[in-house]
């Protein structure tokens, strides 16, 4: 590939932007979508060929949030080798922070008409708002919390885990245990987060009706732009010198440590950033879906995110976005047409991708696959089998 930096003597930032063909395509699509989708939905009347129906807005918003979540997983898994099976927890925490704001916005329009307490608290006979609900009537505070809570949790969790060098599968299992513990906790009614039912029946956000097409358009555009921003941030991280260390950690952690790098600090940084992104994704997800409940903490949900990344192609960032769209579109399609088939498909996808497409869809496209420095496995399954055969004697 031509080295544009050499050719046009560009600044490093523009350089890594222009070198990144997939990223440019992604950003272009996101930008175009941000402009065209609201126009299609608001300007063109129903029935017109250019009309974008409201249900498409809902789906797109959902996919964009999932894509952001997948991006955050790819950032740590694809570039630092941390396979988190608990990223759904950060997503859900961000979602709960936003959900709490939206609950407070309901005000006295709830079923019980209490000006302060959300319906479920009145139902549980609570007399006053628990302390941790204070401040959530301010939008900015809720947004801050949607980033801060997942970030702090990831920081503490990561600090403990990385400092004691819990790596690989062990880390995956304890992240899964973390989200499982949170799942159990949020199911409890006395946690004060609506228990089993979670938070729902939202009315409006910042005074705008959540059901109106305009608000939905704004939310979709916000999701697209946030995805673009997070993509750029992630890309920036991975292209920086810090990113090089991260990739080195992914490929040979001990060697990096012996070279004198504090591996745990690098990991901790990228893990926390990733968790914050997941939190933002959750915060954008909840107003568009209209509900947040403990089901989002389910370990199965977090593992599903990993398969999005794997399908798209880990270690490419835009591949994660692509994977999230492909798998979730397939899910929408199959659960609508033949619901029984969906789990067969998803299960088969897990197996097929790990066996035959270790670099995902992106890796299978020659124009992208060759150019990318993804994880070192060969791209097609015949090579894979050959290398495995060659290694048969070597594993001990």
């Amino acid at each position: 590939m031509t080295d544009y930096r050499q050719k046009y003597k560009m600044t490093p930032v523009l350089g890594w932007l222009l070198q990144d063909r997939g990223g440019m395509i992604l950003l272009g699509i996101l930008l175009a979508g941000s402009i065209l989708i609201p126009i299609g939905n608001l300007m063109f009347p129903e029935g017109s060929a250019f009309h974008v129906p409201t249900w498409v807005l809902g789906l797109l918003g959902k996919y964009l949030c999932y894509a952001l979540l997948a991006l955050s997983v790819d950032l740590i898994w694809g570039f630092c080798g941390i396979l988190s099976l608990g990223h759904g927890a950060f997503f859900a925490l961000g979602g709960y922070a936003m959900g709490m704001y939206l609950m407070r916005q309901i005000g006295d329009r709830g079923v019980y008409g209490d000006p302060v307490l959300p319906d479920f608290m009145v139902f549980l006979n609570w007399k006053e708002l628990p302390w941790y609900w204070y401040g959530f009537d301010h939008f900015s505070f809720a947004i801050l919390m949607a980033m801060l809570v997942p970030g702090v949790l990831a920081f503490v969790f990561g600090f403990l885990a990385f400092r004691s060098r819990v790596t690989g599968v062990y880390l995956s299992i304890i992240t899964q245990a973390m989200t499982y513990a949170l799942l159990l906790a949020f199911f409890r009614n006395d946690m004060g987060f609506g228990g089993n039912n979670g938070l729902t029946d939202f009315k409006d956000i910042l005074g705008f009706d959540l059901q109106s097409d305009q608000t939905r358009c704004v939310l979709v555009v916000a999701s697209a732009l946030m995805l673009a921003i997070c993509y750029l941030v992630s890309r920036g991280i991975t292209q920086s010198r810090l990113g090089k260390v991260l990739i080195a950690i992914r490929d040979a952690e001990s060697r990096v440590r012996f070279t004198g790098y504090r591996v745990e600090y690098y990991k901790l940084f990228v893990f926390t950033v990733s968790a914050v992104m997941a939190g933002i994704a959750g915060a954008l997800y909840v107003p568009q879906i209209g509900i947040i409940n403990p089901g989002e903490f389910a370990p199965a949900a977090s593992i599903e995110v990993v398969i999005w990344v794997a399908v798209g192609g880990r270690g490419t960032l835009y591949g994660a976005v692509l994977g999230a769209f492909i798998v979730n579109y397939a899910k929408t399609f199959f659960t609508g047409v033949m619901p029984d088939f969906w789990l067969f498909f998803l299960g088969g996808l897990f197996i097929a991708v790990t066996l035959f497409l270790p670099k995902g869809v992106i890796g299978a496209i020659p124009a992208f696959g060759a150019a990318n420095g993804g994880p070192g496995a060969p791209g097609n399954w015949r090579d894979r089998l050959a290398s495995w055969r060659a290694n048969q004697g070597g594993k001990a």
Binding site: V169, V306, I351
Partner: protein, 564 residues
């Protein structure tokens, strides 16, 4: 159970609580009667019985109550038939001669049955009979009286139940009757129980300090929540009414000693429940200890191997119902090897088709086996449907051992504890003493060397994975007895299983055993304090912290997985 003898505040009296208020009154009356009347013979003469029965037709129900008490206190077996008829509304006064008879409808006419002899003395239409009316007060008194009369039943079980009733009501009016029952009782167990009942009554009714002290002495040696309640109640009464300080002190000592022994039993119960949970965890985890612990394969479909075992149990049971319904008791025993073969077979196929391509890549293995678990769940759901399937417990697994201290050991849990130990012992033996176990250990320790001395390492891999999966299938047989057999059965165990294996130390069977039992016990000790869900969360958080501290588990061993 009555807590005190004082009448409830007016207006608050619950409508069933007439016994609280009235029984003490009868008690006093009967006591007076007993005190005044010359000592009665142990049974009524015919004449006395008839006289008493005639009095049941009294106008006022208070009078009727007196008579019922008097008759019951005698213990004559014939009284039971009369009182039973009265309770059922079959006791009549004949209008012709004003005699009390038991009426029995025979076609269109009513037979008159003599209350003393039990012979049919005549018959008439219903117009000639006046039913002896009873109200709720009388019904209650009749039931109590009948219960007490059962003390003299020839059937041991009925006598035993009657003694328990007396213990529960602790009605002092029953004291003389109980004394008579004690004199007649021959069964030593029941006699001891009766003496205890007598002591509880003596405590409530005792007049002198010595009587009370004697009663406390007997009660203090007991270890049941019931006796604790009796003693506590007495302590409260004693303090309120300024009994002899010696009595109060003795009662308090007795409460403390009963309490401390009960606490020990409580702790023992927690340990037992913890071991029971631990055995379930152990069964779920022990297969994983082989696939993950020995081979280093992160098998997220492990729970589904358990589920397949449970469904195999169900399928075997259905097959028995069709082909050999009489032998249904054998279905579980047959299911054990079948489940081992089915799950093990699935395991071998999975190893050959998927897992062998992923050795050395644990994260990919994790994802692929997770996909496999989704696949298997949906497959089972398509075959058997999404709803729970019923697996019937064989006779030897139903029922329970109950201790008077409140501890209940159900047979199915006991069997599962035993079964889990047998399974672990079996695996240890296979690993230690069989050629396959030797090859497996050889391949684990040094694959290339094992290969060069002629071990077919690929086959050993497949069989090892099959063994781990087969054991998961056996676990499924056991878990089908205590859990819902549904396609989601396995998911509930997967995280716990990994926790147990990681906690115990990867590649170490005894670590897994210890890990399972200690997690189970810790969980059950936390439960009364924190509640079931919080206890589980605490254990999970503690485990996460523990893994940070000792990433390789309690007993770290070297194996293929450790370096991966």
């Amino acid at each position: 159970m009555r807590q005190d003898f004082s009448p409830p505040a007016p207006g608050r009296m619950p409508h069933h609580s007439f016994r609280r208020f009235f029984l003490p009154l009868f008690a006093i009356m009967v006591l007076m009667l007993v005190a005044l009347a010359p000592q009665q013979a142990s049974a009524f003469s015919d004449e006395q019985l008839r006289q008493n029965a005639e009095q049941l037709n009294a106008k006022s129900s208070t009078k009727k109550l007196d008579v019922i008490e008097k008759m019951a206190a005698d213990g004559d077996p014939r009284v039971a038939a009369i009182l039973e008829a009265m309770l059922d509304g079959d006791l009549y006064a004949s209008k012709a001669d004003d005699k009390v008879v038991i009426g029995k409808k025979q076609g269109k006419v009513w037979q008159h049955i003599d209350v003393v002899s039990g012979a049919v003395t005549g018959e008439s239409g219903s117009a000639d009979l006046d039913k002896i009316r009873i109200n709720n007060r009388l019904r209650g008194a009749l039931r109590d009286a009948l219960a007490t009369l059962n003390l003299f039943s020839p059937d041991l079980a009925i006598r035993r139940a009657a003694v328990e009733t007396v213990m529960d009501t602790r009605d002092p009016a029953m004291a003389p009757l109980l004394q008579r029952a004690i004199e007649r009782e021959s069964n030593p167990d029941l006699l001891a129980r009766m003496e205890l009942a007598k002591a509880t009554m003596a405590l409530a009714a005792g007049e002198t300090s010595q009587e009370r002290l004697d009663a406390i002495d007997i009660l203090a040696s007991q270890t049941t929540p019931q006796i604790r309640a009796v003693l506590l109640q007495f302590v409260n009464a004693a303090e309120a009414e300024n009994y002899d300080p010696k009595v109060v002190a003795a009662a308090k000592d007795a409460v403390a000693s009963v309490e401390s022994r009960l606490k020990m039993w409580q702790t023992g119960g927690d340990v037992y429940r913890g071991i029971s949970l631990g055995s379930v965890l152990l069964l779920a985890a022990v297969g994983l200890a082989i696939t993950f612990g020995v081979m280093g394969v992160i098998n997220m479909a492990h729970g589904e191997m358990i589920m397949i075992g449970a469904y195999t149990t169900y399928a075997v049971q259905q097959a028995f119902l069709v082909f050999w319904p009489a032998g249904i008791g054998w279905s579980l025993a047959v299911a054990v090897p079948v489940a081992f073969l089915v799950s093990g077979g699935v395991g071998v196929v999975v190893e050959r088709l998927i897992i062998r391509f992923l050795y050395g890549r644990p994260l990919e293995t994790l994802l692929a086996t997770w996909g496999l678990s989704l696949f298997l769940q949906q497959a089972i759901r398509s075959i058997f449907g999404a709803s729970n399937r019923q697996v019937v417990a064989p006779d030897f697994m139903s029922g329970a051992i109950e201790f008077s201290t409140g501890l209940v050991l159900t047979y199915n849990r006991l069997w599962i504890i035993l079964f889990s130990l047998i399974v672990v012992g079996g695996i240890a033996a296979v690993l230690r003493y069989t050629a396959f176990g030797l090859q497996m250990r050889a391949v684990t320790q040094n694959r290339r060397m094992a290969g060069s001395v002629g071990i077919r390492t690929g086959y050993v891999d497949a069989l090892t994975f099959g063994l781990g999966s087969g054991i998961a299938g056996i676990a499924g047989v056991a878990l089908s007895q205590i859990d819902n057999v549904s396609p989601n059965l396995g998911q509930g165990y997967i995280i716990d299983s990994f926790m147990v294996v990681v906690f115990g130390g990867v590649g170490n069977l005894w670590g897994t055993v210890l890990g399972a039992f200690s997690l189970g016990i810790v969980n059950k000790f936390l439960e009364p304090v924190a509640g079931a869900v919080l206890a589980k969360i605490f254990v999970l958080v503690a485990l996460i912290l523990f893994i940070q501290k000792r990433p390789k588990g309690l007993f770290a061993l070297k194996g293929r997985a450790v370096e991966a």
